[in-house]
């Protein structure tokens, strides 16, 4: 029974981690809490659904395309909303409030277009196979989620660690001004970061759409709250922290539902967030940031 719970926790946790990855990337590089990340995640789900049901596309193709579309949307948001604020050197909270506006717009427009009710992938899209080992059950979807999430996480981690772009991004995270003076194309990398973050958010959206098979315009908000809890758990702006924080939250949630009560499922995330903020605001892996705001 415990092993089964662990599998469930791993699935949930890798989705949280994948979602939080983009979120933390934007904070690390741009220094912005992008609260439209949840809305973009939701659009990723719808996009895949649309491609699968209206264009009879294969699921993997649809996932790739919806990641691409979400990434482009992320760049558009960056260009139209965040860039003007950067240029004006707006105080810390302005971009956060502006992205709340973006999230409201995306959510409301999607609700207008797609309707408020839950949608699901057409029958047969999702592989029904499951693997049994003793009394352990692992569905193909669960496996795909864990594998895809881990591949994307490792790719991002390696890019950040070993490539020129990764080095440049880390330089920007230290100080955009110094990076600019060193000849790094800061604006270009900001766009790239926004693209990658939104694409990862979109991927998380598709995976969540698959695993719960209930897609609604409002699925972004609770996920966003979980994402906030995850990046605070792991340390804001820290990629490794987002991965471990995501897995940890998934674990904590599944265990509390299994062994305590399902009523307080959502309180687990925020209880954790609250405690971490009080005890160690920089998170499990974060460095102690100088106080900016």
């Amino acid at each position: 029974m415990l092993a089964q719970q662990l599998i469930n926790a791993l699935t949930l946790g890798s989705v949280y981690a994948l979602f939080a990855l983009g979120f933390t990337l934007v904070f690390g590089v741009l220094g912005v809490i992008n609260l439209s990340h949840g809305a973009i995640f939701m659009l990723g789900s719808y996009m895949a659904l649309l491609l699968v049901s209206s264009f009879q596309m294969s699921l993997w193709m649809a996932m790739l395309l919806s990641m691409l579309a979400c990434g482009l949307l992320g760049v558009v948001v960056d260009f139209l909303v965040l860039r003007p604020l950067r240029q004006r050197n707006a105080p810390h909270l302005a971009p956060m409030i502006a992205t709340i506006g973006v999230a409201i717009m995306i959510t409301n427009i999607s609700q207008g277009i797609f309707g408020a009710e839950n949608k699901r992938f057409p029958f047969g899209t999702i592989p029904e196979e499951s693997f049994s080992l003793g009394n352990l059950h692992l569905t193909a979807v669960q496996m795909a989620i864990v594998v895809i999430a881990f591949i994307l996480m490792l790719v991002l981690l390696q890019v950040m660690r070993r490539t020129q772009i990764g080095r440049a991004l880390r330089a920007i995270a230290e100080s955009p001004k110094a990076a600019y003076l060193l000849g790094i194309n800061v604006e270009g990398l900001f766009f790239l970061t926004s693209f990658a973050a939104a694409a990862l958010g979109g991927a998380a959206g598709v995976l969540v759409g698959l695993s719960f098979n209930a897609i609604s315009p409002f699925m972004g908000q609770p996920m966003l709250h979980k994402g906030i809890a995850v990046i605070i758990l792991g340390g804001m702006g820290d990629i490794r922290g987002a991965m471990i924080g995501g897995l940890f939250l998934g674990f904590a949630e599944v265990m509390s539902v299994a062994y305590i009560s399902s009523d307080f499922r959502d309180a687990v995330a925020f209880g954790l967030l609250f405690i971490i903020l009080l005890v160690r605001p920089s998170g499990m892996f974060g460095r102690v940031l100088e106080r900016k705001a």
Binding site: L93, M236, F270
Partner: protein, 292 residues
């Protein structure tokens, strides 16, 4: 004349009540913002006030003013308790912590017997009269206006501009922040109590993240550099839906767009005295230029 008024009141009283209550909420977040704190907990404090006042009205025979008073004190106590550790955080960390607190409150209310759980409380006696709102709003405005000109108000201003400099000048930063947080919670609680006794039904969904954002939007839209901003922000955003019936389903999207545009183009809100002064100066200088 009287008939006209009766008709008008029958149709628009809800909107007018809404303006008054939203004005209080916008002022509650203005108070914390004026001390440099972005708190997203005001919706939760509104909820605590609303539930406290309603439960007293429904389960005891205490008069309405006492219920309302409890609705103001309870959130203040909670704010005091969570404020002492939380307010050490700054900027986005504080915003996240208060957001987390709001969610915790929502989940607790959702799972308690006494609050009616997800069904909320129904049949709260309808006791809020229009003059209650006017009177309390006026009192809040009076207190805040006096505070702005006092030592406390100047301390808030100093903390908002530069916390470290303020601390070096001997300002008790932690104490003033806590004061702003607790007073803001109390004002939000009053608004909650008044609102609950007007709409006679409340639920945990009424005080969630979306509502915190609505309150923030009103304050940011109007401008938070003085007291007039939040009033203008709350009344215009409460009236806006009345003029946007044609947008129907996309009404909220318009709200989002407004929020973005204001942050981008009017970072200090629509009521920004400095900008208005500059504009006037430009007008007078250009017209005097023509004369000479």
């Amino acid at each position: 004349m009287l008939e006209w008024w009766d008709g008008f009141w029958a149709i628009y009283s809800t909107v007018i009540f809404g303006i008054g209550i939203n004005a209080m909420l916008a002022l509650s977040i203005y108070l914390t913002l004026s001390c440099g704190l972005l708190s997203l907990a005001n919706a939760a404090f509104m909820g605590i006030g609303a539930y406290t006042a309603s439960m007293i009205s429904m389960q005891t025979a205490l008069p309405f003013p006492l219920a309302l008073l409890a609705g103001a004190i309870m959130p203040a106590i909670v704010a005091l308790i969570i404020g002492i550790p939380t307010l050490r955080l700054s900027g986005v960390y504080l915003a996240m912590a208060t957001l987390g607190f709001g969610e915790v409150v929502r989940v607790i209310v959702l799972n308690m017997e006494i609050t009616g759980g997800p069904m909320g409380l129904n049949g709260i006696p309808q006791k809020t009269e229009w003059w209650h709102i006017v009177l309390l709003l006026a009192a809040i405005l009076f207190i805040l206006a006096r505070m702005r000109r006092s030592k406390t108000g100047r301390a808030f201003e100093a903390i908002k501009e530069d916390e470290i400099a303020a601390r070096l000048m001997g300002v008790n930063v932690g104490g003033y922040k806590l004061l702003a947080f607790v007073m803001g919670a109390s004002i939000a609680g009053i608004a909650g109590g008044l609102n609950a006794h007007y709409t006679f039904t409340i639920g945990p969904g009424n005080y969630a993240f979306e509502n915190a954002v609505d309150i923030l939007t009103m304050a940011v839209f109007g401008g938070t550099s003085n007291l007039i901003g939040p009033l203008i922000g709350s009344s215009s955003l409460t009236l806006l839906p009345e003029f946007m019936h044609s947008l129907k389903d996309f009404r909220l999207a318009a709200n989002g767009l407004i929020l973005i545009l204001v942050i981008l183009y009017l970072p200090k809100g629509i009521w920004d005295p400095a900008r208005i002064r500059n504009f006037r100066k430009k007008l007078t200088s250009s017209s005097s230029g023509k004369v000479s």
